[in-house]
């Protein structure tokens, strides 16, 4: 039972950085390049861990606290999401609220750490980050609520176990959550992770001044965030194979996560980054989608 | 006997019309004093069946006050103020007489409405008295000269007095005298006020007394 509960935790901790590698490979393939090795993110983090750190004279202890709190809260969020069909270690009724707010805590401290540097670029990034996430949050919660209405439960674990793609509103919810997923993880079309113009970046620009282990934590946290939100979406799609086929479920989850990464990669390589003015519209649209889904679910 | 009363009432109404129609203050005052004397006589006529010393007293007092004292006071004020004529009133003199007619009609109607039980032959009294009341009010409202307003007040008192005389017998003499004296004092006070106003403003045009507003 224990292993089952902690399975997703293990998978996430182990494979989260891999997703980034996969995405980059896909993009490279589309661009006709070889691309960086799949394990590139692991290498980067390892390198950063071994390095020392440089802190700006402007910063205070919050700058140091930012990455740690961020990583910790995304871990908590991860501990709320089970492998499909099992129960997460911290699962309880209403944990989807905690799930959303744990991500909120992560954001809060990342933003504060960015503001702590006093750099106008990082302030800009922080401003956009809070703006977009404020719009993304209702979409996320409404979507989860819709699913919850289908499943008749408020616990993520039971909720993921109970659902699979069976009804149109669930498709709408998936679309909405997909948008939220891209936005929260600062992917195209919301943000271009490997642009090199500070003015246009959102997430990357907030962490410009972090270095060494702090930066490693941030990278790891970002990768885990992808995994967490991803595994929720995947959990909604995946049919349940009952508690005892744990390995099967896990394998399925893993596979789907990789598929998700591939899809993200395809999106990133085929779409352009949206103008900042357009972003709110897309997010509001996501919210509208999930609200529509909820109304459908009241039939 | 009723015919005599009728004539007095006629005279009363006519004097009202005169007050409305005339422009020279002295003439108006003369008319007012005539009206006062008329009321004095009327007091006796109204109670000719039961002439008590009380009636005589009241009649005498009103005769003297209304007939001589008030007019005299007004004349003095005129002398001090050297204000002979009413300056152009809000309502022209001919129009005023028309209004007087209208007021008489209203008085007739109102007299019908008020259930005042009167002796025979007095049915004209109440309308006449009410006409006088309304005339007084009209003078106060429509004339600009402070003196004519004072005059209006006297006429008003006259009218009410007439009503009182015919309708109420049972008021004790003290009260009546007190009331008459009060009226007298009122006129005196107005006279003094007029004197002061004249000294302050060098005119008696109450139309220009409008600095206090809002």
């Amino acid at each position: 039972m224990q292993t089952e509960a902690y399975m997703n935790l293990f998978l996430g901790l182990a494979f989260a950085p891999l997703l980034g590698g996969i995405i980059n490979r896909i993009k490279a393939a589309f661009a006709g390049r070889t691309g960086q090795p799949l394990l590139q993110q692991y290498y980067d983090m390892y390198k950063n861990i071994r390095k020392g750190a440089v802190y700006s004279r402007t910063t205070s202890w919050l700058f140091r606290a930012g990455p740690i709190v961020g990583l910790a809260s995304v871990l908590i969020a991860l501990a709320l999401v089970p492998v499909n069909g099992s129960t997460a270690p911290l699962a309880f009724t209403g944990d989807l609220i905690l799930f959303a707010y744990a991500l909120g805590l992560m954001r809060f401290f990342t933003v504060l750490a960015a503001l702590d540097t006093g750099s106008s670029f990082e302030g800009m990034g922080a401003s956009r980050e809070v703006f977009f996430s404020a719009l993304a949050e209702p979409a996320l919660l409404l979507g989860l609520a819709t699913v919850a209405r289908r499943a008749g439960t408020l616990s993520l674990s039971e909720l993921l176990a109970a659902t699979s793609v069976t009804s149109p509103e669930l498709v709408l919810v998936l679309a909405a959550l997909g948008i939220v997923f891209l936005c929260e993880n600062a992917r195209i079309p919301f943000d271009d992770p490997n642009t090199h113009l500070e003015l246009t970046m959102i997430h990357e620009v907030m962490v410009l001044d972090h270095s060494g282990p702090d930066f490693a934590f941030i990278q790891y946290g970002a990768a885990l965030k992808v995994w967490v939100l991803g595994s929720v979406i995947v959990g909604l799609i995946l049919p349940v194979a009952g508690g005892k086929f744990l390995l099967l479920n896990s394998a399925a989850l893993l596979g789907c996560m990789f598929m998700l990464a591939v899809i993200v990669g395809i999106i990133e390589s085929t779409m352009a980054r949206l103008r900042l003015l357009r972003v709110p519209q897309l997010l509001v649209a996501a919210g509208a989608l999930s609200l529509f889904a909820f109304i459908l679910s009241m039939r | 006997m009723g015919s005599v009363l009728e004539t007095t009432m006629m005279l009363l109404i006519l004097s009202d019309m005169a007050l409305l129609g005339l422009s020279r203050l002295r003439t108006c005052i003369a008319v007012a004093s005539f009206q006062g004397m008329l009321l004095g006589v009327f007091t006796l006529l109204a109670h000719e069946q039961a002439l008590t010393p009380r009636i005589f007293l009241i009649a005498a007092v009103s005769f003297i006050l209304k007939g001589f004292v008030f007019p005299q006071l007004l004349r003095r004020s005129i002398r001090e103020a050297s204000a002979q004529n009413e300056m152009d009133p809000y309502v022209g003199y001919s129009m005023s007489v028309m209004a007087g007619m209208a007021m008489f009609g209203a008085a007739l109607w109102l007299g019908e409405q008020l259930p005042l039980t009167l002796a025979a032959g007095m049915h004209l009294v109440i309308p006449a008295a009410l006409t006088t009341v309304l005339t007084g009010l009209f003078l106060i409202i429509a004339r600009k000269n402070a003196l004519s307003q004072c005059l209006g007040f006297i006429i008003l008192e006259n009218g009410i007095y007439a009503i009182g005389i015919v309708s109420v017998v049972e008021i004790s003499v003290l009260v009546e005298i007190g009331i008459l004296l009060d009226a007298a004092v009122a006129v005196v006070v107005m006279g003094v006020a007029i004197f002061h106003i004249n000294r302050q403003f060098d005119h008696l045009d109450t139309d220009q007394l409008d600095s206090l507003k809002g």
């Binding site: 861990i49 990583l71 719009l135 919850a148 | 409008d210």
Partner: protein
């Protein structure tokens, strides 16, 4: 009960004492603050006792006043509101004792303390009174005392304006309460509350509900009756703003809840209405807060937002109640009420922090501050805790109440029919939006004020405030932190309170909710553990490596200056632009016309839409209209006499017609 009266006595007497020695600032401060603290400590005892045991103490004695009787009662609901009253009053008094010292040469502090104690006592009395006359008198004294406190710096024109707006608003609110109580009284046959319960037939009940909503809502600061908050809170001394925003506006919530208990079974549309008001107040409140440049103004608008959240809780509760879903009703009510206490704690904390900042840097302009956390570390840390708490983030207490409201509305939303589920899902969406925006607003407030580089000389010369001002903040911060971990004990303890309102037992439901909060606590503890581990890990990783320090990465720009930092207004600009339809922010841009760049200026300014769009036109219009009527009294005496005659004749005609 006698203990409670003793406490009030101590408080008031100390106030009078402070008044008598008002020529000696230090002494009067000591008397006033000391007396308040002592009285609050004494008063805390019976309140806790009642809250824990669920008993009801009441006292009814003769009071020679028409329709009045001195009837006070301490039931769990009252105790639940008394607790924060005494707690925050005491702490704010300690803080104020130090804070007011700045004015000791210019002001009569004794007077301020007199009104302060009066305010505290009257707030307690409002929670205790069980007779309409007593309640109203206490209510009015509360308004008057707070009015004088708001007008503390009355030589400033804007302060006078603020106090005027405040007094007018609260008085008009009272004007709605009078008929409400009297309608109750007319039907109950007495103005004692114990006769009120369920005494009204339906149409009247709805009328009374609306009247109560307006009357108490004005004090609570729900939109559109909120206009006085953003004026009064910045004007008042900080400890007073803390008290007013933390507790006094909650007396409005208390009134509404009390009336709901009397009105009994609500109609469904009541819940819709309250919920709608809550959502609107919450969203608009936080939006206007985002647009503020004045730190205390920002906090004031956040009071509107939090009142909105509380109202949402009550609305969810009402909907559940009228729809016959006990769990929703209980969770909603409990969440709303719990948020009352939580808000009292972190909003008090934040206002005290703002006060310290103001005294340290002599400005409340957010854009002139910065980098204060290095100058005033304790204040900064406390403010941060307050900021996290007010954003409703775990593991602090703000999350508990929002969690309950979420849980209640989700419960209803996933199980009930459309007429119930639609408003509830609206509540979920609203809470989510509010949460995100609040986080944005407080990252702005804290980040710009305390982080980065000082943006002005005053901010650069700031220094940590005196211990007596820091200590209350530390206590409140600790309170926010600890309460966040004790959800599973706090929530079940509220069962008596909630049952008292709803009339059916809430203990079981709340125990279950407490269980959920228990797992939240576990998660929070886990979070802290992980944080600790990671900190240790980083220390281990960094050990033996060189840890350098340099300038912030500025993209190679040669001469960075602190003025180049992102400012509060620029931080909030994307959001304020998105919602400009409601905010109507005015922008003033001055650019030099020459070819070569010269000094330019850009200013943004956000008026309160409610005030500008509703009340100002209303008042101006009435003024013009009435001014026209002055023509009726134009000084011409003839006209006046004419009026009299017309009146007379008119009446006569009316008589004989």
């Amino acid at each position: 009960m006698l203990l409670l009266l003793l406490a009030l006595g101590i408080i008031v007497i100390s106030g009078c004492g402070a008044l008598t020695v008002c020529t000696r600032p230090r002494l009067s401060s000591c008397i006033g603050a000391g007396g308040t603290v002592l009285g609050c400590a004494v008063g805390m005892i019976p309140a806790l006792e009642v809250l824990l045991q669920g008993t009801i103490q009441s006292l009814r004695c003769a009071w020679s006043m028409p329709c009045g009787s001195f009837f006070i009662e301490l039931d769990p609901l009252s105790a639940f509101f008394l607790l924060p009253v005494f707690l925050l009053s005491a702490l704010a008094a300690v803080y104020g004792g130090q804070y007011l010292m700045k004015y000791k040469d210019t002001k009569r502090l004794g007077v301020a303390w007199f009104f302060y104690t009066l305010l505290v006592a009257s707030m307690a009395m409002v929670c205790l009174a069980r007779n309409a006359v007593l309640f109203l008198i206490a209510w009015e004294i509360m308004a008057l005392a707070s009015f004088f406190l708001v007008a503390f710096e009355n030589e400033k024109a804007e302060v006078r304006r603020a106090s005027w707006i405040y007094m007018v608003a609260t008085h008009l609110g009272t004007a709605c309460l009078l008929p409400m109580f009297l309608i109750f009284g007319a039907h109950a046959g007495s103005l004692d509350f114990d006769r009120f319960a369920h005494s009204l037939p339906q149409p009247l009940a709805s009328i009374c509900f609306i009247l109560a909503l307006i009357g108490f809502g004005t004090k609570a600061g729900i939109i559109p009756f909120h206009v006085w908050l953003p004026e009064a809170h910045p004007a008042a001394p900080s400890h007073v703003s803390a008290l007013m925003s933390g507790i006094m506006i909650k007396t409005g919530i208390y009134g509404i809840v009390r009336m709901l208990a009397f009105l009994g079974m609500p109609a469904l549309w009541w819940g819709w209405l309250v919920l709608a008001i809550g959502i609107i107040s919450g969203v608009l409140g936080v939006l206007f807060a985002l647009a503020q440049h004045d730190l205390k103004g920002l906090l004031a608008y956040h009071s509107v937002e939090n009142i909105g959240i509380i109202m949402m809780g009550l609305g969810v509760g009402l909907i559940g109640w009228s729809a016959g879903v006990p769990s929703v009703a209980i969770l909603g009510m409990a969440g709303g009420l719990l948020h009352v206490v939580n808000h009292a704690m972190f909003k008090g904390l934040l206002f005290l922090g703002a006060g310290s900042v103001f005294q340290a840097a002599h400005t409340r302009e957010i854009d002139h501050l910065g980098g204060l956390i290095k100058k005033m570390p304790y204040t900064g840390a406390c403010f941060l805790i307050g900021a996290v708490a007010i954003s409703g983030l775990p593991p602090l207490n703000g999350f508990l109440s929002e969690f309950l409201i979420y849980l209640g509305s989700l419960r209803g939303a996933i199980s009930m029919g459309a007429d119930v589920a639609v408003p509830l899902i609206g509540a979920v969406a609203g809470l989510a939006l509010i949460g995100g925006l609040a986080a944005a607003c407080f990252t702005k407030a804290f980040g710009i004020v305390f982080l980065g580089e000082p943006r002005s000389q005053a901010a650069a010369n700031a220094h940590e405030s005196r211990p007596l001002m820091v200590a209350p903040m530390l206590l409140l911060a600790a309170g926010c932190l600890v309460a966040g971990f004790l959800g599973m004990y706090i929530v079940p303890a509220m069962s008596e309170v909630v049952s008292g309102i709803l009339g059916f037992d809430a203990g079981h439901e709340l125990k279950i909710a407490g269980g959920y909060l228990g797992s939240v606590t576990i998660a929070s503890i886990a979070l802290l553990l992980v944080v600790a581990c990671l900190t240790l890990l980083r220390r281990f990783l960094l050990s033996g490596k060189e840890v350098g320090s340099g300038a912030t990465w500025d993209c190679g720009y040669a001469a960075p200056s602190s003025r180049m930092q992102y400012s509060a207004s620029s931080f909030a600009q994307p959001i304020t632009d998105l919602f400009k339809i409601v905010l109507r922010t005015e922008k003033h841009l001055q650019l030099s016309e020459q070819y070569f760049p010269a000094a330019g200026a850009f200013k943004t300014h956000t008026q309160d839409a409610g005030f500008e769009k509703i009340y100002r036109p209303l008042f101006e219009g009435a003024k013009c209209l009435f001014a026209r009527c002055a023509v009726l009294q134009h000084g011409s005496m003839h006209l006046y006499v004419l009026y009299i005659v017309i009146t007379l004749l008119g009446l006569l005609v009316w008589l004989v017609r």
